[in-house]
Symmetry: C2
Subunit: 236 residues, 2 copies
């Protein structure tokens, strides 16, 4: 399936980058069948219509792909390297994630956040990963979330914060997931959450969880946490 | 714990890069306590002795950290981008892996393999990830493995190959792992394994497994597979 992304379902043409990809890489021509999603569950079967380097299309079939029976929401204090934040978004999207929120924590420098988290780039990366992994919902990505108000506004069924004061006393995230529920998982910065932040999350309904016996970098923790929640939903 | 890596246990000094890291980044001085591992389970507590930009050390305590009760071996057809192979090695090392073998398959270009898999670089990346995640065994990495002879020589307790002809008929890798056993998992190239390669693996004791409902890139599949095996061992 040649899957393309067009968020505006009334436009009936691919953007410049996807047009180039369809003609130069996939070598598609007028009359070829493509699929187009709006990243909100709509999957359209279309006939391509190449005209003067514009890739238009005519819709010949359409269906709404239902959302999954569960939702995975990951909130992360960004790492200091832009590329690590970008690959984290790419990998979580491939594995399956509904929301990714970047947090400003006590140990996050807000200037760093603006330098290492570029929302346009992240949305483009997520869209490419969505198509590549043949999914039809684009994860919602937000940046610049203030920790306290973000924590207070969480509405998920299960709210978890990765934190390991003593591995033996904290359950693994996998064991805390409830079938067909929404799960929020918070991942701390390199200097970890502060004691105050942990306490504030716990006052607001979050439970501490472990991500396993080895010490993971922020971006690896995010992928591992996202993957563990998906596995718990798929396997249980 | 300031953990350093010195594979030669009779040398008692850090290499140039770690010397620089100890003095410039960590700002350690003579008399400071460091820990040194040889990547083969030896963990030494040492007193640092800085002398003319050479970081020597005296061992004041020593223990052997036992290996885990299970082993995770991942064999992968490399992706076409060097950086994706490198991050795959970094992330699997953080999560926990005993062996990483790069395979030449029907859909692998051997010239590509030499360009995108540099064993020295991969070993340096694995050593850095081992230290960062506070582990004491360096994964063994091999490249240039011919598919047939590699498959024939596998001795692991559980042998698995990721391949999804029809998701509903294949069990998830998580369900196939046996407690305290060694597991070998093969991950195919972008064009996937050939039918012949799948058949050959199955004749040699491999079972096909799924890595979940979404289509993953090679490097994401390797991380997800490695993580799922670790989770199955830790949680069961």
């Amino acid at each position: 399936m040649h899957l393309f992304y067009q968020p505006n379902k009334n436009l009936y043409e691919l953007d410049e980058e996807e047009t180039r990809h369809s003609s130069k890489v996939l070598r598609l021509n007028s009359g070829d069948i493509i699929h187009v999603t709006d990243g909100k569950g709509l999957l359209q079967k279309c006939v391509l219509n190449m005209h003067k380097n514009k890739a238009g299309y005519e819709v010949i079939g359409s269906e709404m792909i239902p959302r999954r029976s569960f939702a995975v929401h990951i909130a992360i204090a960004p790492t200091r390297k832009a590329e690590r934040n970008e690959w984290m978004v790419e990998k979580m999207t491939e594995i399956g994630v509904e929301r990714i929120d970047f947090l400003i924590t006590e140990h996050t420098n807000p200037e760093t956040l603006n330098r290492v988290v570029n929302l346009n780039r992240l949305n483009r990366i997520a869209a490419a990963a969505m198509k590549q992994s043949q999914q039809f919902y684009l994860p919602e990505i937000t940046v610049n979330n203030k920790y306290d108000s973000f924590i207070r506004s969480r509405q998920e069924d299960v709210k978890l914060i990765a934190y390991v004061p003593d591995q033996n006393t904290v359950e693994h995230v996998f064991s805390k997931v409830r079938k067909d529920s929404s799960t929020s998982l918070l991942i701390g910065p390199e200097g970890d959450f502060s004691e105050k932040e942990i306490a504030f999350a716990m006052e607001n309904g979050f439970s501490t969880v472990s991500l396993g016996p080895t010490r993971l970098r922020t971006e690896t923790a995010a992928i591992a946490g996202c993957h563990a929640i998906n596995l718990a939903q798929i396997l249980n």
